[in-house]
Symmetry: C2
């Protein structure tokens, strides 16, 4: 059976086409999330079509699979497919989108394999299914016409030979029963990402404290050890907002109880309150597999799958009764005493990891889902359940999760991994931005002072700035020679909080990822093409994962990214003192060096260890606040300083709300615009105006001060 | 649907039960091979039953899969599943048995993932299907009874915690349409392997020259460069029997033509003849994907799959017409001029390798097979087609292949890999022996002289002793300081040829693998258990792939193996000067050191670089021949020397035939037994008698000479 796309796809929102192939089975990720598209925001986007006619999209169905085929252009990079640590551009590769907790090979498997592909041609395609799908990203060459001798290079003698010939098709191998397909128009890749995000319900807006610094303490710490370590941050003057507890807070772990270990935490409520009085929130580690020692075990057992994990049960939380049991216990024992959120670990098991611990694909669950489906959905279940829990209390949460999928954009959860390659961590930050995902390149340990500083410089420019010392027992001051540099990083994180919080508000309302890969930046494609042309005939060592066969691999610029609209982060890795950076058009200043570079091409960045590898856009007007020890409590006011960079007029934005609740959804929020122009007297002049928003002109911030014509980051006041 | 094993399995040969679940689709590996079981040899084995009742084996069928379940004992190691580089005992793991050309992770994927599991309890189970199957080797824990708090350790505090709890079941996830299941009785694991091998048609008996030394020359060598390099072996006195040509012999490669590159090989027949006159055979590299530039392309195109590879076609050789085209061309242009065999490369593609080049699983082939099935079968197709080709000329071949599967035991092909970890290479040699596979730990290059020597010491004790210099241009004398040591290794290979050839004859007729892992050796289980007991309370650094969670991993002894019945090889790896060796019961002598060790436990082997890490069994009577430059041509005679080791009476076996043809299948062969006893005068006395065989008492060998009571390897005469 073969059919064209015209008769089953229809436009369901501006620039969004949707259609169902076959008869999908079980709940899909988007059905589970159940969020309404942000229709107004979608409608506010420019109208756009797809870069191909729907009739060019064909579907074939066989007994074992459904195949969807879309034509590709010869030079069409393909991005997305969720969190990908090994590769950002998947053109020429086959991607097997199975959840995998240990994604060491470049197969597409991942903690969060979102079946959403973003083409550089300016469109996106989503397969909304809880089954594993395979994207052949121009990796298959159907014999649609005869091969010819002329077009076949001889590897013996022809250096232009490539392992993967150019394929004219993107092929999606979908479940045999079918699934829903959704197409997102551009015209740019960023527009396609925005449409996906808005259609999923908009991006996550974390509570303000979520953007402070996080520290996770060693797993078996007692309440007093954890409190001592937290207070050490205050004594040493390192900002910190969240203390994370690891497995040891449970009365038993692997499987877990969700109950406090009274020998280590005799009075959890007092512990949370005490640390709260010092400005700390508490985040709790957990995983899905419930111990027979847990009080809720008997209530959950009827809803468990056929197979256990670590001697515990794997409940089917798509059953409302099971959800209720989990949520009630969490509400009573954690949320009610002030716990701020969770780290959902181990929900990304697959059967092929080094240690087999996950339930198998053939496990069966009370709702009718099988193990394959439940594994693909599991990370989403916990995100949704705990987000709902806090939403019911009108408190925002922010946490961590090791598995995610389609439709996760509205979820205030940040992905992480047990892998630890710094370069891969940066690539993950880039790749996540195509798929409505957030990622933290968490710091755990370092092989050297240099490695320590370089990793910290990256993590403070990420969705969640965290030192995870659960196993290594590190502290920000663990490498004494770097203490000042690390303090500088953490303080900068706090100073930039108004800027980052605003970036997240744009994610929430406009679908623009707060941290984003270069292909999502205007002018990137042209600058990258110019660079390719310039090095075409030179031998260069490229930063690439291509080995073996590839001779002239293309640099993907998957080692740098935008943090908000005006900061470009180009991390250095241990061993480097300089690197190439691709700058979008315009002027750019080294944040620490003050050196101005002209964009629209590639520049060489010399970056000693003490300098942040960050550029600021000329004309940026960035709101900074003081480097407080932690985010102020509701009601407090802090000064805000608008910092204007360079020698051209500029513009900046500041979003503000109460930072803690969902009242912003009822209009209790404000957007300020800062405009800097040169007055008739030749002096800079700044004005801030309320662009849109509710009754108040500010929640957190006092009246602004101004700095003009900066070339580098000003000292902290 | 669920049913028990009693109503669909029946005993089809002594100790072999077979039954079909469902309605299998397409040709299975054993159907493709089409070999008759060696009924007489099977009948000659002791009768035995299975260690469980057939009724304990259950089958469940669902829409997407068929599940077969067999009970496991708590302490029951599980071996086999084809070539496995990362692990020999799969207990507690899930094995995804898909062909994969780059099996870097421990998932079960492999060049040769044979769905045959050998339990230490003494049975084997085979899923005869060309689809990918998953073996859950005690990695799934069904909730057959409620979990209890008592049986659930707390990882916070209990060091006995394990990532994978003990599972009571082996679960096979089979294709939804079903497949044939075959069970092989023991009582020992070796017996199960023997039954599988005999039932598959018996093991491969290579031509005698195949057991000499092999050297593959750089890919773009011309005929005269290849000839010069071959003759350099003669000038320097290094034995060599086979020269391998790599892609450059083709007129175009990737895709290939199977035609000679006339600019490099102007007169192939003369080249083969010239080298033949110096005692060299020529082996040709090839792969399956046919170039439009090939003369046979138009004839093959009608039988090609829907997807191309490297701009060439992937023919469906299950279609007899396609086979005929391939075989005729190979016969005319290679076999007829004296080419001795092939190296079948790249037939192990999967869609998830780093470079996507293989046809996808959804490719379709004229016979009705899909891409998944064809990929699982492809290595077998080429082995069978080329073996048949030589068989028709009554000439034996011996070659290399990078993919294999079930039923391959009778095929004279040896597996290899682009991976190159020495320790993994030894493990592969061990693991292959459970599944009717042969493996070469080929040498290509080395990081040091030590690494070079240690790798050579391993490869000369393997099914195919080869230096593969296609990309590195190495020669046996590339590390000048080691030249004498390497010559010693290669000469020993030649001297042991009667012994190795006899080991292969036992493989052919009795199903006993010529090189085999320790669990296939009598007394291993007891010695290993005694060792485990002895180290239970000591902290030891173990050779194990277990990381992360495993605290007291069990040593698997997958780094040593038997070569024939009487030599135990315990390779050292660069950086080591000594190692632990588990010796089966009896006395053992260091082959070079002459030091006697008592077996039945673990001994420490001190092994300087100049010593081979090999033990010889006390009482062994091993036939040696002189270290000739190459295997003699038919009609020549060489002396044979029976070497008796140690201080006990002994026994040895020598098989002999013409070494080149299949006449041995018509009885033109001889088995000699050597018996050494102590005479009444206290002196050793040896007798050799014809045990069974044809008219002649010897083909290659002259009258034997004797050496008695040896403690170490005698010098070459």
């Amino acid at each position: 059976m073969s059919r064209k796309g015209t008769d089953w796809m229809r436009e369901t929102a501006p620039g969004v086409w949707s259609g169902v192939i076959g008869e999908p089975e079980g709940v899909s990720p988007l059905e589970w999330m159940g969020k309404e598209p942000l229709a107004d925001a979608l409608a506010a986007m420019e109208t756009a079509g797809l870069p191909f006619a729907l009739g060019e999209l064909t579907v074939e169905r066989r007994k074992g699979w459904t195949l969807l085929r879309i034509p590709l252009e010869e030079d069409e990079p393909l991005y997305g497919l969720g969190l990908q640590l090994m590769r950002m551009n998947h053109r020429g590769r086959t991607r097997f989108l199975r959840v995998n907790s240990d994604p060491k090979q470049d197969t597409g498997e991942s903690h969060a394999p979102v079946p959403l592909l973003i083409s550089a041609r300016g469109y996106g395609i989503l397969a909304d299914t809880s089954r594993v799908v395979t994207f052949h990203c121009g990796s298959t060459v159907p014999r649609t016409e005869s091969f010819t001798a002329e077009r076949t290079p001889d590897r013996n003698t022809d250096s232009s030979w490539r392992a993967t010939p150019v394929s004219p098709f993107l092929e999606l191998r979908l479940p045999p029963e079918g699934c829903r397909i959704v197409l997102f128009a551009g015209p740019t890749p960023l527009d396609a990402v925005r449409r996906y995000t808005l259609w999923s319900g908009g991006g996550a807006l974390p509570p303000r404290w979520g953007l402070g610094f996080w520290h996770r303490v060693p797993t078996l710490y007692t309440a007093s050890e954890a409190a001592n370590e937290a207070l050490e941050f205050r004594r040493r003057g390192f900002p910190c907002d969240v203390i994370g507890l690891e497995p040891g807070w449970h009365s038993a772990s692997y499987p877990v109880t969700y109950e406090w270990a009274r020998e280590r935490f005799p009075d959890p409520a007092a512990f949370v309150k005490e640390l709260g009085s010092h400005g700390f929130r508490i985040n709790l580690w957990e995983h899905p597999y419930v111990s027979p020692q847990a009080g809720i075990y008997p209530a959950l057992e009827p809803y468990a799958g056929t197979h256990g994990v670590w001697g515990g049960i794997a409940p089917d939380y798509t059953v409302p009764e099971a959800q209720a049991v989990y949520q009630r216990q969490h509400e009573d024992e954690h949320v009610a005493i002030g716990i701020s959120g969770y780290k959902h670990d181990e929900c990304d098991g697959s059967e092929l990891t080094n240690h087999a611990w996950m339930f198998p694909a053939h496990a069966e669950f009370p709702s009718g889902l099988d193990g394959e489906q439940m594994r693909q959905l599991y990370g989403l279940l916990f995100q949704k359940m705990t987000d709902d829990l806090y939403r019911r209390c009108n408190r925002r949460t922010y946490g961590l999760v090791r598995a995610s999928g389609a439709g996760a954009a509205p979820m205030p959860y940040v992905l992480y991994s047990d892998l630890y390659d710094h370069r891969q961590f940066v690539r993950a930050l880039c790749s996540a931005s195509f798929s409505g995902l957030l990622w933290t390149p968490e710091v755990r340990k370092a092989v050297s002072e240099e490695d320590w500083v370089r990793r910290m410089q990256t993590v403070v420019f990420s969705p969640l700035a965290m030192l995870n010392a659960w196993g290594d027992g590190t502290k920000p001051w663990s490498f004494p020679g770097t203490e000042a540099l690390i303090r500088h990083c953490l303080e900068l994180r706090m100073r930039l909080l108004p800027y980052f919080y605003t970036a997240f508000a744009r994610y929430r309302y406009e679908g623009v990822p707060p941290f984003r890969a270069m292909p999502l930046v205007e002018g990137f494609a042209e600058a990258a093409a110019a660079y390719r042309e310039s090095v075409r005939h030179t031998k260069t060592t490229l930063n690439t994962t291509d080995g073996a066969y590839g001779k002239t691999a293309v640099r993907e610029w998957d080692d740098q990214y935008m943090a908000g609209d005006d900061l470009l982060v180009a991390p250095l890795f241990a061993g480097e003192t300089s690197r190439d950076v691709l700058l979008p058009p315009g002027g750019w200043y080294g944040l620490d060096s003050g050196v101005r570079c002209e964009g629209g091409g590639v520049v060489r960045l010399d970056c000693p260890l003490g300098h942040l590898p960050v550029f600021v856009r000329e004309g940026a007007v960035i709101p900074l606040m003081p480097a407080l020890p932690h985010v102020p409590k509701p009601g407090a006011k802090v000064p805000v300083e608008w910092c204007h960079f360079g020698n051209t007029p500029g513009r900046g934005v500041l979003y503000d709300d109460d930072g803690e609740t969902f009242d912003y959804e009822d209009g209790r929020q404000v957007w300020l615009t800062a405009e800097v122009i040169r007055g008739d007297d030749g002096r800079w002049k700044g004005t801030s105006t309320v662009e849109r928003g509710g009754a108040e002109t500010s929640y957190l911030y006092g009246l602004p001060t101004w700095r003009y014509g900066l070339e580098r980051l000003p000292e902290s006041p």
